[in-house]
């Protein structure tokens, strides 16, 4: 894998460490990428003057102009399909999909063209494009605004799929995704957009497609990504008060999956709980459970358990607290695992 060029810092940010929200970290990351490479263009509905419905692209059009931050017509297939053409022409488009539930009109372009052109042309066409998708629930929205469609894309060869969970990753991962010569589906945990964290804009991060152990522990491994990372860390902190030591792994990359740290962790703890918001059926959580039992069969002291959204459409928002895994559901699964 080519090492990404990481000799950039956020504009006007001499200070190496800043406290930023995920939203602002993404904004700074996009800005840094656009400054580093004039071929990077941001495109989507309302991304220009408005700065996107979540303001992630705030101020970019003002500074980079309408040709680099394109307020597009309202059609997702159009956004993604034209980004393909721009990428063939030598641009590095970053598409914003307004909400997770609206990626489906663009699904055809993603799986039929974006994922396959490199393969079909034996590598003659590269599609260095990023599709940003705010995903997941917990914001009290109407239907189609709270979905977790990542497994559809992880299931498709030719795409890379990542999810950030904190400001530092948001800042660096968006730049690494833009640097990547493969198409990357970039999932942003929308309910965490305004959570703050420290971002070191000089210390280059680890590889984009690698998972990371965020908290070490000895009793049970929790593996998770995106919005559920915070929930899992909170659960680990709560468990500690009860004298239980949980290890938390943030996958960061959903395709390819970097499960080596998970295997290593499970070999030590003997127990795994996978935590996702997405429904569990035929999903990334299924994949992890399958692979871990295959690789760590003799180390496991309990079956791999999963805490996921239910296999239902996303419910009306008054019920989303029931639907979304929370600290208690995670701890309950930990109890079950330990009781084995």
């Amino acid at each position: 894998m080519a090492a990404p060029t990481m000799d950039r810092t956020a504009a006007g940010a001499p200070a190496a460490v800043q406290t930023l929200t995920i939203a602002k970290a993404l904004n700074n990351g996009l800005r840094a990428a656009m400054e580093a490479d004039p071929k990077v263009v941001v495109m989507g509905e309302d991304v220009g003057k408005l700065g996107g419905v979540f303001r992630i692209t705030d101020g970019l059009q003002k500074d980079f102009g309408e040709q680099r931050v394109l307020d597009t017509p309202l059609a997702e297939s159009g956004i993604i399909g034209t980004a393909v053409g721009l990428a063939i022409r030598g641009y590095r488009p970053v598409c914003e999909i307004q909400f997770d539930g609206f990626v489906f009109p663009g699904f055809d372009q993603i799986v039929s063209q974006v994922a396959k052109l490199h393969y079909r042309t034996q590598g003659r066409i590269k599609l260095p494009m990023v599709i940003r998708i705010p995903f997941g629930g917990g914001i009290g929205a109407v239907e189609h605004h709270s979905e977790s469609p990542e497994s559809y894309f992880a299931h498709t060869a030719g795409l890379k799929v990542v999810a950030c969970s904190n400001p530092a990753d948001a800042y660096w991962m968006i730049q690494q995704a833009i640097d990547c010569d493969d198409p990357v589906l970039f999932f942003e945990p929308k309910r965490r957009y305004y959570e703050k964290g420290q971002v070191d804009t000089t210390a280059a991060p680890g590889p984009l497609f690698g998972s990371r152990v965020l908290r070490t522990g000895t009793d049970v491994t929790l593996v998770t990504y995106g919005p559920m990372v915070r929930t899992s860390l909170d659960a680990a902190a709560a468990a500690e008060e009860e004298g239980r030591s949980l290890e938390v792994v943030d996958l960061r990359s959903l395709s390819p999956l970097d499960l080596a740290p998970v295997y290593e962790s499970v070999r030590r703890t003997g127990r795994l709980v996978v935590v996702t918001e997405a429904p569990g059926e035929s999903s990334i959580s299924s994949e992890i459970a399958a692979k871990v039992q295959q690789e760590c069969f003799y180390s496991l002291q309990a079956p791999v358990l999963r805490v996921t959204g239910f296999d239902t459409p996303y419910p009306p928002s008054k019920l989303e607290e029931e639907f979304l895994p929370d600290l208690d559901r995670v701890l309950h699964a930990v109890d079950r695992s330990l009781a084995w």
């Binding site: 053409g85 063939i88 490199h118």
Partner: protein, 397 residues
């Protein structure tokens, strides 16, 4: 064809039309208009080989140029017939015939400059020829040895696109890139051409491509080959309005050209590309033509098409009319026609030999070039597969 204003047709369920408003039957009759393609049809060479003038699109072609266009069409037809036969002999899994569409493809393809970019559908073997792609390079897709072997960057000819309409958006994006690069605005400008069928015009992607190209003034020529059928669905199952008139709704010109007339197609496409080069934005060309063979070798047109229709269109054969004209003008003699036939035969033999000798790809091809920057999970899967493969005696299963 009546002017667009007259196409204000009452919606479904409206009372029967009276007075000037056309009935649904009249609309459909006008739409198909297979006799002439309507009054707005641009034509420079009649089916009888007569050169006619057009106030807006007349061009001068030399005898040599016309002989060249004739040669292109004959060779491409020969390639098409040979590939069709190869499928019948089991050498190709499927073939997508272009019979009848040679003028639409050669006329438009020869209007392109090397710096222009073309996005085909899956039937554009004639355009591929104009882009310098060897006919043998088309075979991998249909024999199942590859998904296309030409270099789309070198030839500026995108891979064939099977999903109907997808390429129209990809072309719109590429053309936007040409615009952003400042590659348009004068006579040296670049342009993009995008091919699709009449059926494709029903797809959302084609509509979106029209929208995008229009609002970004992209230098994009939409080249719709209306060959009257989308497998078994006739054009009136796609549209109430003649297709070229749809452009009006998007705010750019739409022109219907006789797609069986290579001169008219060349002239109209040249003009449209020039509009794009100069920065005047997109143009829709509807090449009114007919696919004289099945949709693909898997199709059975006898189930839905009347033989009368085919007979009618045979009279408008795109190659015959050029031949007649060449003879009438004394621009070609029998020796010329014979030499083209001989050349066509050589191309066919080459195609046949290449096809039957085309080796199956190595098993590792399954895994090659899925990603530009690799994927360790997939690489592990490949290694496991190759090791398993190597375990067989002979090692080449």
């Amino acid at each position: 064809m009546s002017s667009p204003e007259e196409w204000t047709h009452p919606g479904p369920g409206a009372p029967p039309a009276t007075g000037a408003a056309p009935t649904a039957e009249q609309v459909i009759a006008g739409l198909r208009a297979t006799d002439e393609g309507g009054a707005d049809l641009v034509q420079l060479l009649t089916p009888e080989g007569e050169r006619v003038q057009h106030p807006d699109f007349d061009i001068d072609v030399t005898a040599e140029e016309l002989r060249g266009l004739y040669r292109d069409m004959v060779l491409v037809r020969r390639v098409d017939r040979e590939a069709n036969a190869l499928q019948r002999k089991g050498q190709l899994g499927i073939w997508v015939p272009l019979l009848g569409q040679e003028a639409a493809q050669i006329g438009s393809g020869r209007a392109l400059r090397p710096t222009d970019m073309a996005f085909p559908s899956y039937r554009e073997h004639g355009v591929a020829w104009c882009r310098g792609i060897k006919p043998t390079d088309l075979l991998g897709i249909f024999r199942g040895t590859d998904h296309g072997t030409w270099d789309p960057v070198e030839h500026r000819f995108h891979p064939y696109t099977i999903v109907i309409g997808n390429q129209v958006l990809n072309a719109a994006g590429y053309a936007m890139g040409q615009k952003f690069d400042g590659a348009v605005g004068d006579a040296d400008g670049e342009a993009t051409i995008c091919y699709f069928g009449d059926g494709a015009t029903s797809q959302g992607d084609v509509h979106e491509g029209f929208v995008w190209a229009a609002v970004y003034d992209a230098p994009l020529v939409f080249f719709c080959q209306n060959n009257q059928w989308a497998i078994s669905e006739p054009t009136e199952r796609q549209s109430r309005l003649p297709l070229y008139q749809r452009a009006r709704g998007y705010g750019f010109p739409g022109i219907r050209v006789d797609g069986n007339d290579v001169l008219a197609t060349l002239a109209v496409t040249r003009w449209a590309l020039e509009e794009c080069r100069q920065g005047n934005g997109p143009v829709l060309i509807e090449a009114f033509t007919y696919r004289m063979d099945a949709h693909t070798t898997s199709d059975d047109p006898s189930r839905y098409r009347l033989s009368d229709e085919l007979e009618l269109w045979k009279l408008k054969d795109p190659i015959e009319r050029v031949k007649v004209h060449l003879v009438k003008q004394q621009w070609a003699d029998q020796g010329f026609f014979d030499s083209i036939e001989e050349e066509a035969e050589r191309v066919a033999v080459e195609l046949r030999d290449y096809c039957v000798n085309l080796p199956d790809p190595p098993a590792g091809r399954i895994f090659s070039e899925v990603y530009a920057e690799g994927n360790p999970v997939l690489e592990a899967q490949r290694d496991e597969f190759l090791a398993y493969h190597a375990g067989f005696a002979g090692g080449d299963h």
